[in-house]
């Protein structure tokens, strides 16, 4: 069983599609990074120019622009950030969401079921898709963070500059951002990893009904769009965001994220994907 897990996980992250997804993701996040680094230096330049021209010492607003609002997760207004958090449901399914479809078609599933048992195979497949999906999301985010960190200082944000960060008192983990910002970023990366892992597993769910790889990979994207639209069922601006396309962004887009929604959706997503893949797959006739 352990060998099956190792094999599937190796296959999921050591394939060209994983690399392509990470490169596309990182390529998009670079747009955001370049813009924000440029903005940071422009601000520094403006302050120093005013000081040179007037001789006065101005507040350098050192806690106004920091890595925590210059990395892709800290802002929601650049094209890079908007594009990345729009297409991530596709990116996370690209690395390995198609694999079960392919293996079912080629007969590989039957061989694996004989050698390792159905439960081990489906369990390993679920874990591999989950892992590759989560990594395809967080690797570009981490690379973006590192790229921005090479130019913009990691000054702890000051709550008096909260309009620069868009994180208000009512925002999720606002206390943490203004006291331990790296922990805030880390927790968000973990949330993104878990959710994107689960979102990519929707590709496995749909494979039970369709034979087409492209459909399997694009299915999670449309599920997420549907969820985003269903936010209209909760029209009040005080209602929390129910769309993963919104609440997986560390910068709140219109609505605030809520732990209740995040945990509830994570549980529902896990239940649906796990039951439909591992439990149903284990009982499924593969011949």
């Amino acid at each position: 069983m352990w060998n099956t897990f190792k094999l599937e996980i190796k296959k999921s992250v050591m394939n060209k599609f994983f690399l392509i997804a990470v490169i596309i993701g990182f390529g998009i996040t670079v747009f955001s990074a370049l813009y924000n680094i440029d903005r940071y230096y422009y601000d520094l330049e403006t302050v120093s120019r005013i000081e040179r021209n007037t001789g006065a010492v101005y507040n350098p607003t050192s806690a106004g622009l920091t890595i925590f609002n210059c990395w892709i997760g800290g802002e929601g207004y650049t094209l890079g950030s908007s594009a990345f958090f729009f297409i991530f449901p596709i990116l996370v399914a690209i690395p390995y969401g198609w694999s079960y479809c392919e293996e079912k078609k080629s007969g590989y599933v039957r061989n694996m079921a004989i050698r390792s048992g159905k439960a081990a195979y489906y369990g390993a497949k679920y874990a591999a898709v989950f892992l590759s999906g989560g990594l395809a999301m967080v690797i570009p985010l981490i690379l973006n963070l590192l790229l921005v960190a090479a130019f913009v200082p990691a000054v702890t944000p000051d709550p008096s500059y909260c309009e620069y960060y868009g994180i208000w008192a009512s925002s999720l983990m606002s206390m943490l951002l203004y006291s331990k910002p790296l922990l805030y970023v880390l927790i968000y990366l973990i949330i993104d990893f878990i959710f994107c892992g689960l979102i990519s597993c929707f590709s496995l769910v749909v494979t039970a009904f369709v034979k087409n790889k492209v459909v399997a990979v694009l299915f999670p994207f449309f599920i997420m769009l549907g969820l985003d639209y269903s936010q209209k069922l909760f029209p009040s601006s005080t209602d929390p965001s129910i769309s993963p396309m919104k609440f997986l962004h560390p910068f709140p887009l219109m609505r605030q994220a809520s732990w209740t929604v995040i945990i509830l959706e994570a549980v529902v997503f896990s239940a649906i994907t796990f039951i439909m893949t591992v439990v149903r797959g284990g009982k499924n006739e593969i011949y």
Binding site: E75, Y77, S82, K213, V214, D228, K246, P252, M254
Partner: protein, 280 residues
């Protein structure tokens, strides 16, 4: 004669056997119409007595979003209704030509003794599919308007538009206007051109990445109000008839036509030299 036979085959397999696609288009349109009726109720609650029309319903579905002004305090939120109208069609038309080329289409290609007719037939199928899809949406909105007593005319209610798209009155080009028919048709034409562009792109890159490119193009169009971002011509409220700074739909018609012709020609040339064997 060969072309007619090919087209008949494509209509049968790519449209008639895919009723589910049009059922989904109907469901999408019905949900948006229901949503529109709720916004009409809210509009009436604000004390407005002006009548709404079929054109307002179409505008609600195909409107898109107002101009986005990037600012750290104004995060970008994509227009989900507009995205849910256009991207499902790109998804539905993504696979059929590619799949056909790898299966039965290979036999057809041998028997027709040329590739041009096959490509022409697929392009025609693409145009028909897009027109049917949008036709279902328009028809649903029309039936909804009839059933709910909404006037069947082309008059746009600007107050309703301001409420639905949160546009400041000073940004609007004019008061209540009767919208020309071509302004309603341009989003459909753009959809046809975009789908053809996607089909051509499938000859260069895998269908999945072709879809990804189109999705990014549509999102970028929502982000940037520019005559060069073609998606703007699929957003009725970005027309200069509605917004002072909007895009000109006459120029849009030319750009859409150019995209259509370029996609057709590029695809035709590429397909002429395309290796149809040994593809996954």
């Amino acid at each position: 004669m060969k072309y007619i036979k090919l087209l008949k085959f494509d209509i049968q397999n790519g449209i008639l056997k895919k009723q589910k696609v049009y059922a989904i288009a109907f469901i999408i349109a019905a949900v948006f119409c229901f949503d529109f009726s709720n916004s009409v109720k809210i509009f009436k609650l604000t004390g407005q007595n002006q009548s709404v029309s079929f054109a307002d319903c179409i505008l609600y579905i195909y409107g898109g979003m107002r101009e986005y002004i990037p600012s750290p305090t104004n995060p970008f939120v994509f227009p989900v209704i507009w995205v849910l109208v256009f991207l499902p069609l790109c998804f539905f038309t993504l696979n059929y030509p590619y799949q056909d080329m790898q299966s039965f289409g290979q036999q057809v290609l041998i028997r027709t003794k040329g590739r041009f007719l096959w490509w022409l037939s697929k392009c025609t199928w693409n145009i028909l599919s897009s027109c049917f899809y949008h036709g279902v949406i328009y028809l649903t909105a029309f039936i909804f308007s009839l059933l709910s007593g909404i006037g069947i005319n082309r008059n746009i209610n600007m107050e309703m538009l301001q409420l639905n798209f949160q546009i400041k009155p000073e940004l609007l080009a004019a008061g209540n206007i009767s919208f020309p028919i071509f302004a309603f048709l341009l989003p459909v034409l753009l959809s046809v051109a975009i789908n053809l562009f996607q089909m051509t792109l499938c000859l260069f890159i895998k269908p999945l990445f072709s879809f990804l490119t189109v999705a990014l193009l549509m999102l970028s169009s929502a982000y940037l109000l520019s005559p060069w971002m073609v998606g703007n011509y699929a957003m009725i409220i970005r027309s200069d008839l509605v917004l002072k700074k909007g895009v000109n739909f006459n120029i849009g018609f030319i750009i859409v036509l150019a995209l259509f012709v370029l996609s057709f020609i590029c695809g035709m040339i590429r397909f002429h030299y395309y290796d149809i064997l040994n593809r996954d």
